[in-house]
């Protein structure tokens, strides 16, 4: 992009141009979801332990997910986890995939898949609450 005979350093060229405008948003989103996932993960583990501890599996699950608190937390857990996951996967691609087209394609595919599966999980949770 820049002439190779330019003697200015990359830092010298970049200085004063401002940020790329997207770094902080990604960074902040990843940290915010990480903080939210600490209590959500502990709730999720407690729920799985509760379900493993007994009862007829299907009835136990439907009774548990029918509780408004559990349903709300499950929906939050799905949304926040998938958001956190696709932000993290994006960084992995950016670090390890060299080709621009491949990298961009993988990032787009992962984001689409993450929100698709999040929606599927949320709709499934709602069906379990209201559909039965």
């Amino acid at each position: 992009m820049f002439a190779s005979n330019n003697l200015r350093s990359p830092l010298g060229r970049a200085r004063g141009l401002g940020s790329a405008k997207e770094g902080l948003h990604h960074w902040w989103g990843q940290r915010l979801t990480a903080i939210a996932l600490v209590p959500l993960t502990l709730w999720f583990v407690a729920g799985i332990i509760h379900l493993a501890m007994g009862g007829e599996p299907y009835e136990a699950f439907m009774g548990w997910i029918a509780n408004p608190c559990n349903a709300t937390l499950m929906i939050l857990f799905l949304g926040v986890s998938f958001h956190h996951a696709q932000l993290g996967m994006q960084v992995v691609y950016e670090d390890y995939i060299g080709g621009h087209a491949w990298r961009t394609g993988m990032i787009i595919a992962t984001k689409f898949a993450a929100y698709g599966f999040a929606a599927l999980g949320i709709v499934s949770t709602l069906i379990c609450c209201f559909g039965g």
């Binding site: 996932l37 501890m53 299907y58 699950f61 439907m62 799905l78 996967m89 993450a114 599966f117 499934s124």
Partner: protein, 130 residues
């Protein structure tokens, strides 16, 4: 000039294949690896919720897969990855806040993360199977 071709025992520059990673670096790359694994695990969580939405037969079938040896092995791996990523992630949040950058604190953190992962995983499985 004759010396140039002689094999040397000079120190090699650090490289993944000749460099023994310090524990903090092993935990660092493990954070990424478990993160990728947990992303795939989220797909299994969705599949499990979906099976419940499809009804008792689909849910019971899903539970048969989960209770199989392979299913339990995946669940064990998922739980270890989850607790490790949780513990190490909390450490990352401290680092993001500009704390615990000293080497002594990092070494202590390594131990906390490993112990936390073991204790939480053991506690969860003991409670679940009790």
């Amino acid at each position: 000039m004759a010396n140039a071709a002689k094999p040397t025992s000079r120190p090699l520059s650090p490289h993944l294949q000749v460099y023994r990673l310090p524990l903090a670096a092993v935990l660092s790359i493990s954070h990424r690896i478990t993160g990728v694994g947990l992303s795939l695990g989220l797909l299994l969580l969705t599949w499990w919720l979906c099976s419940a939405a499809y009804g008792p037969d689909a849910y019971d079938q899903a539970m048969v897969y989960i209770a199989s040896p392979l299913g339990l092995l995946i669940l064990l791996g998922f739980s270890v990855a989850l607790f490790f990523h949780l513990c190490n992630g909390i450490r990352h949040l401290f680092w993001d806040a500009g704390r615990n950058f000293e080497i002594s604190q990092t070494k202590r953190g390594n131990i906390y993360v490993i112990l936390g992962t073991i204790v939480l995983t053991a506690a969860a499985w003991l409670l679940a199977l009790a």
